[in-house]
């Protein structure tokens, strides 16, 4: 609901600004993510949440309590969390007998669930177990998706989309070349394993313009397998991927720039009626009053509007009688 379309107006200017910030924007910033635990969680799940939270910082929020949420049965509480914290992404960790070491990653559109994927943590080594210097916080990473499986099924395609959305951070116009520090690679193996690896990028001298890339693993090192998924309906996905009309580039017609940098414009003129052009006025070319009346009659006859003529003559007659 738009701020100005509210029945109850915001009382303070500050409150109004808060509401305005939460309204849909034409250009959206980074999607924030919330991390929370389900009914129960294991140590492994908690550490995975913490590590991915660290990777996602500063666009992330960790909720500390356990939540009685069964997200595939009822997603309303999660929608409420995301609405409250104004987040578009969430990651939930839970642990049960049926689904041990469980992670659910998903995203929201218009404060309701768009899609989500449930992952099982098979193997985990944390950020802290790699005793190397880490990367700068909030940096845009390079994302790698290895393996032919990413394009072969709907679930994997959706998971890929979710992972890109989760880690790509912000859409930027330009990057500093020396500032590329981080690479996250996702490997989809034929046996159904999905391996997340995170590396620090070291740019070495190569003797040519491009640098030689060396990588150093900084963790976390997680192996997932896919469990349940909830894919969005194509209509909803299409609606969500809609680009605002304001951002579309409109082509300027009939304007060109030549090699010297001069702008040329082409203007379309209507067809000119040469008969009606006013040329130089001369007394000798002036029409007599008879000629003028004849011309008028001719014009009227051509237009076929006889009624006008008749009406005019009648009115003239009546006025003369008066």
């Amino acid at each position: 609901m738009s701020v100005l379309q509210r029945v109850v107006k915001p009382t303070t200017h500050k409150g109004k600004k808060v509401l305005l910030r939460k309204e849909p924007q034409i250009i959206e910033g980074t999607k924030r993510a919330i991390f929370f635990k389900g009914r129960k969680s294991s140590e492994k799940v908690r550490r995975v949440l913490r590590d991915i939270f660290d990777l996602k910082k500063p666009d992330a929020q960790m909720l500390s309590r356990n939540n009685d949420v069964t997200i595939f049965e009822n997603a309303t509480p999660v929608e409420a969390f995301c609405r409250k914290h104004d987040c578009g992404l969430f990651m939930m960790g839970s642990h049960s007998k049926k689904r041990p070491d469980n992670i659910v990653v998903g995203r929201m559109f218009n404060h309701s669930l768009l899609d989500m994927v449930e992952l099982n943590i098979d193997n985990y080594e944390g950020l802290r177990e790699f005793a190397v210097s880490k990367i700068t916080i909030g940096i845009k990473p390079c994302l790698l998706f290895n393996g032919p499986h990413w394009e072969q099924s709907d679930e994997y395609r959706q998971l890929k989309s979710i992972l890109i959305d989760f880690f790509h951070r912000e859409q930027v116009d330009a990057v500093r070349l020396q500032g590329i520090e981080h690479t996250i690679s996702f490997n989809a193996l034929p046996d159904g394993k999905i391996c997340l690896r995170s590396y620090k990028v070291l740019l070495k001298k190569s003797g040519v313009r491009e640098p030689r890339v060396e990588l150093e693993e900084i963790g976390p090192r997680i192996n997932f397998t896919l469990r349940r998924t909830k894919l969005p309906s194509p209509d909803l996905m299409k609606e969500a991927c809609k680009k605002p009309g304001e951002l579309k580039v409109h082509k300027k017609k009939n304007i060109s720039t030549d090699s010297l940098g001069t702008t040329h414009g082409r203007i379309h003129m209507g067809k000119q009626d040469i008969q009606k052009i006013q040329t130089r006025k001369m007394k000798g070319l002036k029409k007599t009053s008879e000629e003028r009346i004849a011309l008028k009659r001719k014009v009227l006859r051509e237009s076929g509007d006889v009624s006008v003529k008749r009406r005019r003559s009648v009115s003239r007659g009546s006025s003369s009688s008066n």
Binding site: H168, A174, R197
Partner: protein, 339 residues
């Protein structure tokens, strides 16, 4: 020749010193440089993977990052404060938005009217010079209120006005009325934009109501007589207000045409509703009746207690007495025949 060989040798040494930046791939990678993304559709080398998976992943990631960065280094660069920036193309992967695309704000009734008529908003200065107070007074805000107070310490009583009327209070009332009218209009705009039907109410204060409102008030007031305004004279140049039939007495009684059902069916419905009349249970009436019987029984019991056996109640059911069932009491004594 020695010199040439030396130089060639040096350059080859130089090149051997560094590891290569080129990577061979069976299938070309898919790049999305706008999101710094590369998708490698090549199959995994299972032998190398099974030997040492982590090292295999590291090498694979290194190769792919190298390829991605090579692509990035090809892009046009520019120097911004000693840093080499590379301009990224727009991203290819379509990611969903978090919230829907914002819709343009709907126009208010006034804005729509102003647009049609080409009325443009004039910008008013924030401060204006007040000749009476000899200072700059803001357009609105607390200093404006203070200045108003200073300026209007005395108010003229207009001619033909009641001398005992409080002009200050009148002004205050007019102000509050205006504020609430504005708020009402705001709510009306919201309701209109959301397609909510708002019931029409009568008229607001005559001090602030528009000509249209007053016209409606006249129409309603004229119809508000016992004979629904049938014998009211027409005023000079009076025009009846439109769209007030819902709140005008008698006006909504007009029979509405119902083209959905044919006339004979409608008439049959009426006849049937009369012929097949069923007794309706009026709860209020029933309760009242019950209460009455209770009090009657109590009273009669009391009477019985006080005057023993003086009178017997024949009719215990307390039904409405019907003719030709009981015994006529007959006339008690004579008297004038009443007609």
């Amino acid at each position: 020749m020695d010199v040439v060989n030396e130089i060639l040798g040096n350059s080859s040494k130089e090149s051997n010193k560094y590891k290569p930046v080129t990577v061979k791939k069976h299938l070309e990678l898919e790049y999305d440089l706008g999101t710094l993304l590369a998708v490698d559709p090549n199959d995994f080398n299972i032998d190398l993977y099974s030997k040492n998976p982590n090292e295999y992943f590291l090498n694979l990631a290194r190769d792919n990052t190298q390829l991605l960065l090579n692509k990035l280094w090809e892009l046009p660069t520019e120097r911004v404060e000693e840093a080499v920036m590379v301009k990224l193309p727009p991203p290819k992967t379509a990611l969903p938005r978090m919230k829907p695309v914002p819709k343009p704000r709907p126009l208010t009734k006034w804005q729509k009217f102003a647009k049609e008529k080409g009325i443009q908003k004039k910008k008013k200065p924030k401060l204006s010079w007040d000749d009476q107070l000899k200072k700059w007074v803001p357009l609105y805000g607390f200093k404006k209120a203070k200045a108003e107070k200073e300026k209007n310490w005395v108010l003229e009583v207009p001619q033909n006005a009641d001398p005992n009327e409080d002009q200050f209070n009148k002004k205050l009332v007019a102000k509050t009325e205006n504020v609430s009218k504005n708020d009402l209009q705001r709510l009306r705009n919201i309701a209109k934009n959301k397609n909510i039907k708002v019931p029409r109410f009568g008229t607001s204060n005559p001090e602030v109501s528009s000509a249209k409102d007053l016209k409606a008030a006249i129409t309603i007031a004229k119809a508000s007589t016992a004979s629904l305004g049938k014998f009211q004279d027409k005023l000079h140049k009076e025009v009846e207000a439109k769209g007030v039939s819902a709140i005008t007495p008698g006006a909504s009684r007009k029979r509405k045409m119902t083209p959905l059902e044919p006339e004979n069916k409608l008439n049959m419905n009426i006849v049937e509703s009369i012929l097949n009349k069923k007794p309706r249970l009026d709860v209020d009436k029933a309760v009242a009746k019950q209460l009455q019987t209770n009090t009657f029984v109590e009273n009669s019991q009391q009477k019985q207690g006080t005057s023993k056996g003086s009178q017997k109640i024949k009719n215990k059911t307390n039904k409405k007495p019907k003719g030709s069932k009981g015994h006529r009491a007959g006339k008690k004594g004579g008297g004038r025949k009443r007609r």
